[in-house]
């Protein structure tokens, strides 16, 4: 398969570009931020995502979705990134759906229709540390009657305060670092004993700390097999990582584009500052970095769609590379904007904030560089 978008993908990209620029622009983010919206995103837009069919990209056609793959998911995410659209798309329609795709038909019947319609929102309770450590799970899920009793704490649960269902990674057996003994659960929002503390993040998204105090859940809530949740979690992580990387490509490209435009207009010393070679060379270098990051993400998506065993490696390459490139893009962006780049009035600062949040989501560049070394065995 050639490494560029085919005609169908390009059509999707065109549609997504127009739709999201229209409905989910930076102005949309500012609106939700400034009214201090407690959810951090707009439910109306989420329903419109559903109407556009975006939410069914990773859902099979039999179940009412489009039956497409991560390349198509990435097309939507890139536009979300480019416009800084606040949206539960990544947690719900990408990472969440991928976990459910590994779960029972019952679970899918319960949640998927709502997701397709843009009614249901999922969140992911997979982190117990401030840094990404999905293989370190202390939270316990003890057998209790026919079900389980959850105890422990999760953090960095994006949309955790406004989701209808939380996917929770807990331990049904083994020690904190064991792969065996992890189980994933679909926990509904109104269950007793779940204490949710929502906090606003730097990029205006809202995440939650969730404490589970003897939360009782039935065996139906298990996603996949008991004790074998690591496979499901890996599937969720692959989708989430490559998805976050795609969104970051959009953030980096968006930041670069507004910066290029700015330096074409801003005058100093009687010249447009984009004429200065010092800035030109830096922008050209940035362009090169963003192109490479974009290609790495596309390759990772393709390998994942193909079910290649190399996908794991390339996903970490993609998240690491785009982490560095997009960080460069927002730093150069603010610096080249000069004083106005520091003001809330200009958008570039918002790109810097989103970059920071996305870089931590599903593991930062350091984490994935380390992972590449581990996969290579050194």
């Amino acid at each position: 398969m050639p490494l560029y978008h085919n005609d169908d993908q390009q059509m999707l990209a065109d549609a997504a570009q127009q739709f999201i620029a229209d409905k989910g622009s930076v102005a949309h983010l500012r609106e939700f931020r400034d009214k201090n919206c407690k959810d951090g995103f707009g439910h109306d837009l989420w329903r419109e995502f559903g109407e556009m069919g975006f939410n069914g990209i990773l859902v099979s056609e039999e179940e009412g979705g489009l039956g497409l793959g991560h390349q198509e998911a990435g097309i939507i995410l890139k536009e979300i990134g480019r416009n800084l659209t606040p949206s539960p798309f990544l947690t719900t329609a990408i990472a969440g759906i991928e976990a459910l795709n590994a779960g029972s038909k019952n679970l899918r019947e319960k949640y998927v229709p709502g997701i397709l319609a843009g009614e249901t929102v999922l969140s992911l309770a997979i982190e117990e540390h401030s840094k990404h450590r999905p293989d370190h799970i202390a939270m316990s899920a003890a057998r209790s009657g026919n079900g389980f009793k959850l105890n422990g704490a999760k953090k960095f649960v994006i949309h955790g305060g406004s989701s209808d269902m939380v996917i929770v990674a807990a331990r049904t057996a083994g020690g904190v670092n064991d792969r065996e003994g992890i189980t994933l659960f679909a926990v509904d929002k109104d269950v007793a004993g779940m204490e949710i503390n929502a906090v606003r993040l730097v990029d205006s998204a809202v995440a939650a700390h969730i404490n589970f105090n003897d939360v009782e859940i039935t065996a139906d809530a298990v996603i996949g097999e008991v004790d074998q949740g690591a496979d499901v979690l890996d599937r969720l992580l692959r989708a989430g990582r490559v998805g976050a990387a795609a969104e970051m490509v959009g953030v980096g490209q968006g930041a670069m584009d507004i910066t290029v435009n700015y330096i074409k207009e801003r005058k100093q010393f009687g010249r447009v500052i984009g004429e200065f070679q010092g800035l030109q060379h830096r922008m050209s270098h940035l362009y090169s970095e963003m192109q490479i990051a974009d290609a790495a993400v596309l390759k990772a998506q393709q390998l994942l769609d193909e079910g290649s065993e190399k996908a794991e490696l390339m996903i970490s390459v993609a998240k690491a590379k785009v982490g560095k490139a997009t960080n460069l893009s927002v730093r150069e962006g603010v610096q080249m904007h000069g004083g106005v780049g520091m003001t809330d009035e200009y958008d570039i600062g918002l790109y810097m904030k989103r970059d920071r949040a996305l870089s931590e989501f599903f593991g930062d560049a350091s984490y994935h560089v380390q992972r590449v070394a581990q996969i290579y065995g050194y």
Partner: protein, 386 residues
Amino acid sequence: MSDLENFRAETRAWLEANCPAEMRLPIKGEDDMCWGGRNFKFKNDAQKLWLDTMAQRGWTVPDWPKEYGGGGLNPAETKILKQEMASLKCRSPLSSFGIWMLGPALLHFGTEEQKKHYLPQIARGEIRWCQGYSEPGSGSDLVSLQTYGEDKGDHWVVNGQKVWTSYADKADWIFCLVRTDKNDKYKGISFLLFDMESEGVSTKPIKLISGNSPFCETFFDDVKVPKDQIVGELNRGWDVAKYLLGHEREMISGGGLSADMPSIGAAFAEVAELDPILRAEFAAFDVETLAFRAMSEKFMDELKAGKGHPAQPNMMKYAGTELNKKRHELIMAAGGSDALEWESEASNHGAKPRGWLRTKANSIEGGTSEIMLNVISKRILDLPGA
């Protein structure tokens, strides 16, 4: 015991006796500092007492002459006072653009009358100053400023707009660059002082990406400025501004150093243990930090001895601000998702991300990194056309 040893002992004893306990607690942020001025609200009695006590001794500006409200200390004594204050954790009694910026310019360029009038008020924290340099159209290209002062005999009438005026909404007076001759780009600028309560002055805070608003846009609409409120010669305000900018860059370049910059790797040892890649970045950064601290020490020592290239502050400003930005990138990385929290109690209302975003201005304000690099190319490396 030598004179200096005596001085150190006496100073320490005096500080211990006179510095209130509250004024020996760490400062929590800019809001927690004493800025002085007509409308300043002291956080507590201790803050006012400490300002008054120190001002009375001339120690808000220890190295200024006594006749202008200073302490009359020589450089060695001034250094000892700073060391003893640091060792006892005494807060600075007064944070003031008057002390840091205008004062040195007045001492150098002011008339005797101006020195006697303004300097003691600055020393006592009675006037809070702001700086009117940048304009919307003139960022790095300062001399392209448009604010115009029309000559009306015994006064000028000033019209125009400034931007990035620090705390203009809280300041009492402004020191301001105003064009007084439209024919010469450099030699048509004058350095004027005037009251922010003058008719025709208005300010509008600028909201920053950190969520704070330390800067304003400031508008002048037919503001009358008496002729005796000029510093330096008519149309030679650029000389004063350059003197001040040099001083500011020294201050900024020195800024990172006096502050303690402990090992970032040691501070985040737990993260370093989990993440060997980040650990490598920490270690590389510790090397950068310690090397830069050596450079700062060398720079300061050379400055005191009148050695070193006169454009060296530009290099220090460049290197120091880029380093500080990198430092905060690493602090954010070390903090992980905790450091993303913007409003929570646990995050002290987003102290880390707000502090991180604040540092992005380091390499813009007081001369951008690009301008610093230009100056090095031109004045140190002597590259053509720089």
